[in-house]
Symmetry: D2
Subunit: 352 residues, 4 copies
């Protein structure tokens, strides 16, 4: 039985608490939050839980095997370090930390202590993303040529970070997982319309010969969560908001017959459109699958879980690079006409 | 009665022919195409049309007032120049020409000759885009903060140009029209998976404090034609593939209450979601509205039509800058791992 | 504080338990289920709950003010009668009972005892249906001319009743609420492809001059929950599966200019299509709104709650009539070619 | 070369004219319409066409092999009879005639004269319906258990008939084609909100053990054209308004394990949901496929074309039965409270 303490009962914490409570191999002993109100709501729901407003006390609780951290991002590092030093395994809400330096320090600390770190990249445990992985690994899609992801909503989830740090980790964790790699280059353009934090961002990531593009926004009137994957053999649309048929596999593509006759080149490109199919997906709650996976990793001593500390570090590294790229470009403020000038060496002034 | 000759009976030419035939103020006297097969199809449909495989003969035909050019892009300039020199008005399929130098030469030639040039930016004459213009001009949306356009399909329309030149003119003409301006800066990243022409491109355009982003693709398994416009007061989704309710206006947005207390900044951002409405749109065929507009412009001697030579030149200028920016960045070839390195000064190597 | 005991921890019971636990004015003291497995899951989640496999014991528990019954339909009546006799208020999952005779007996018993009965017609407490009620009451739609509802899914929710009894109560409760009436006539055609229970049914209900039509199915490959309401002034589409814009109000309709010239009648019908709008909806969880409403009804001594015993009885009466009508028509069995012959006096043999 | 004359240049006539003109095996010699305005529009488009306001003259034109009739329904019979008597083949807009008596007379006349009748059931020639036929014939769906079709729009197409006669023929022709049969029983309930013609109707058709249900409406705020087909092995959704993937095949269904133990019956029903796929469809214009088919039928002397006179008669017979059934039920008028009382013997008064 893995006995957990959960710090943070805001947006996502209650889901973590419920899943650790309902899993027969795990339990929640204690929860912590700065807000007595949030603790009250949880205690009304689960009267047996110990509650505290002091995270330090929870971390020191000898009854616990694991500390689950679902606080604002800035607190991830100090709380996780403290927990590791107390000899507890750690399960962190994404993004793992506010910087790659912090993430690396945690990974090294955990390795020294022989403890495990997990990062809650929940999407990796959905039936949809597991199916995407299968489609990539089996070769059914051919070589991946492009990935285009759009993740939009009205409103933010994490209060102390930009849209890149808030929702970018979903895409980067999925991409790293599908490519079994981390991006070699990252660049980004971002805008801030309300304050100093970016609220819309476009991010490019390169994995070998694959270029992935992300559209991230907190300022969209509609909710979109869609990833297109173009392979040399087939293409996929993964629309997370569909009820049925979240993953659609299209048997379509383009071929060039020959390229030697320059003048008639374009006539030789032919497009092919065949059937589409939507494979049946396992719709077990992703967080349940993830908690089962964590339990199994701890049992088997898995060294590099797909949601482990090393994987979390790789995501933070790419996100950090994207944020840095956006800042180097001067970003883009609503009322600021300087903006793009410094943005890119490859930029051309219209009309030059 | 405006008597037109039409050169090019491929994808779009038949629509031009039909609209000029059906309009009571216009007529089609002669058509030209290199393919006897295409001419045969048209003559079967409209037995009264004169046909020819020699565009020069058509241009010289004294019975014509206007030459309509719907050929591959590379032929736009020589044919249009010849027509203007023969004293004919010109109506060009988009993009106007293959370079801004050519477009400028045509504009100046037409002005010297007292002739008119029109460019077929059909979207400007749809009920949807005219409604968008109304929403912007009336101030209902507030200041425009961002525009995000996605235009995807499987397959190309124009055979001799990249995806930027092929479908980018739709977005740029709409943006220039809505902003009553041309972009000050343009940058782009593009990929080519099949041949030397780009088949996927991401383009950024800056209009004052507005940053617009385009996703353009010939390699998508699904067709998308969607533009999001974020204003300080309201936001719009224009989905051209909707049957009813192509334009949806969302009464939503975000405000920052105050910004002085740095530490709790994010708590002060509040999101507002109110009603949505979809205004009734005029669904007259856009090309019919455009032909009526052309007739009226010629009658009134309008100097700067929204689809005139100057407007067409501005679109070519932006598209040309986007293509140049993509090339300067090294573009991105499927089998080429150099790629992004040279792409942008603001790029950060993941993990630096 | 309203202290409840909940009988039945299957599909819907856990939602009832959670809402009664989380509401500050209510509490759950004890739960009962025949399945120790279901009780175990609930106790793992809420360790403070008393559990029992004996519903009678729970009903007799003097600590309870209300018994919440979420069992198979056939048990509603005996359990509710026992609870009323023990002096407890009752909250019943829909449909209220398996027959109108049973429902009436409960209503009369509750009235004699001065106790309250509530029936969980959850949909009445959604933001969408409350908005529909507003649109009808305010006169914005004009007179209601037709209602067409489609409720389809793959699979059943209630195991011991037909599709008419299982999902029909949703529509009938909404219709009765919107019309502030119960139907005067009900007829139905139904089919059974698997067993003796109907799995697809078409139901017609007449409210004064309004005819409502329901399509109910457990055998559809896709999930649909959509209601169309046609008014003389405006029309509404309520699509419960939409994320945003569940309720769309269309300013459209048809008029007849005059009807005196018989021969050209049809030329005088004109159709009008104006704007559409989607009002902002309250998206508080419906069950939370309902529990708040129940608490308030008990405080104020409301005699005829919208989800009260009388309302529940009216729903059962209409559903019962629909099932009886289907049976009188001989229903329709997959392997049975007799079928429709006896169905309706107005049926015409094709080719007569 | 099949030389046709076309009577009626209203909504559908121009499509017929265009297709007969563009087909290399057919031609249009002359067109007729009562409206000089409509003739003017056609002549502007196709200056080589002979025009006339006198249908009789066209029918007598010895240059013609076939008379195509796209007039209001009431004129179908007299014009077609005249054409057959003049020795011309006939191609009739659907529905074939205003009564089965008329249709039968035409069929018999044509057979006596050795001439062919075709009825324009265009949907039969779409890639979607041809694929449905394939799915049924191949046995992939198993036995068909139900068909549920919804065909809604705002506005009418045919001015002189009810919604049953106007859009019902689409569904009936598709059903007859898929079942290779005509319905044995037909019943219907219909409403008229504007005038004496029904504008909303629900129709039930029985084909052996299959019950099909149609929802037909001119008074819907949204356009719907969707057919669900439930087979014992697979289910299909055919949504004619989808751009791609109009036909989706769902590998899902329900089974009953055993039925002997009455009390636990429902526990034994299990639902199965597997993959979905959308087969590639031929998207040649349906009317082009139909004209090719007609030419081929005339060449081969096909006696019973899928869109022949006998097939058209079968559709009229079912539609006529539906209209008669609706009338026998007293129909349902907006302001009329009599309505349903007489409707059906199987109706039950709510609360009896």
């Amino acid at each position: 039985m893995l006995r957990a303490g959960v710090i943070g009962c805001g947006y996502w914490g209650p889901n973590l608490i419920r899943n650790f409570l309902e899993n027969d191999a795990t339990d929640v002993v204690q929860i912590a939050d700065l807000s007595p109100e949030s603790l009250h709501i949880m205690q009304k729901r689960y009267p047996a839980l110990e509650i505290t407003t002091a995270a330090e006390g929870l971390i020191a609780n000898p009854a616990l095997d694991m500390v689950v951290i679902a606080t604002p991002v800035s607190m991830h590092f100090p709380l996780a370090r403290m927990a590791l030093e107390e000899g507890k395994h750690v399960f962190l809400e994404k993004p793992m930390t506010a910087s790659s330096r912090e993430a690396l320090e945690l990974v090294e600390l955990a390795e020294r202590k022989g403890l495990a770190i997990f990062v809650d990249h929940t999407f990796l445990f959905t039936g949809a993303v597991r199916k995407l992985k299968e489609l990539v690994v089996s070769g059914e899609l051919g070589d991946i040529q492009y990935v285009d992801s759009t993740r939009m909503n009205l409103g933010l989830y994490q209060h102390d970070v930009s849209v890149i740090w808030d929702i970018g980790p979903h895409d980067v964790s999925i991409l790293n997982y599908l490519c079994a790699a981390e991006p070699e280059h990252v660049s980004s353009v971002a805008m801030s319309h309300l304050d100093t934090q970016y609220d819309i961002a476009y991010v490019l990531l390169r994995y070998g010969s694959l270029l992935a593009h992300l559209t991230l926004s907190w300022l969209a009137p509609v909710k979109v969560r869609q990833i297109l994957i173009g392979g040399t053999k087939k293409m996929v649309v993964y629309d997370d908001l569909e009820n049925i048929a979240k993953v659609k596999v299209y048997d379509c593509g383009a071929q060039v017959a020959r390229t030697d006759v320059k003048e008639v080149r374009s006539m030789l490109v032919s497009y092919r459109r065949g059937d589409m199919y939507a494979p049946r997906l396992d719709n077990t709650e992703a967080l349940k699958v993830e908690v089962d996976y964590i339990v199994k990793c701890l049992e088997t001593g898995e060294r590099d879980p797909v949601n482990g500390g090393r994987a979390g570090l790789a995501v933070v590294r790419a996100i950090e690079a994207a944020e840095r790229s956006a800042r180097a470009g001067g970003g883009f403020r609503g009322a600021d006409t300087v903006g793009l000038a410094a943005e890119a060496s490859h930029e051309a002034r219209a009309g030059d």
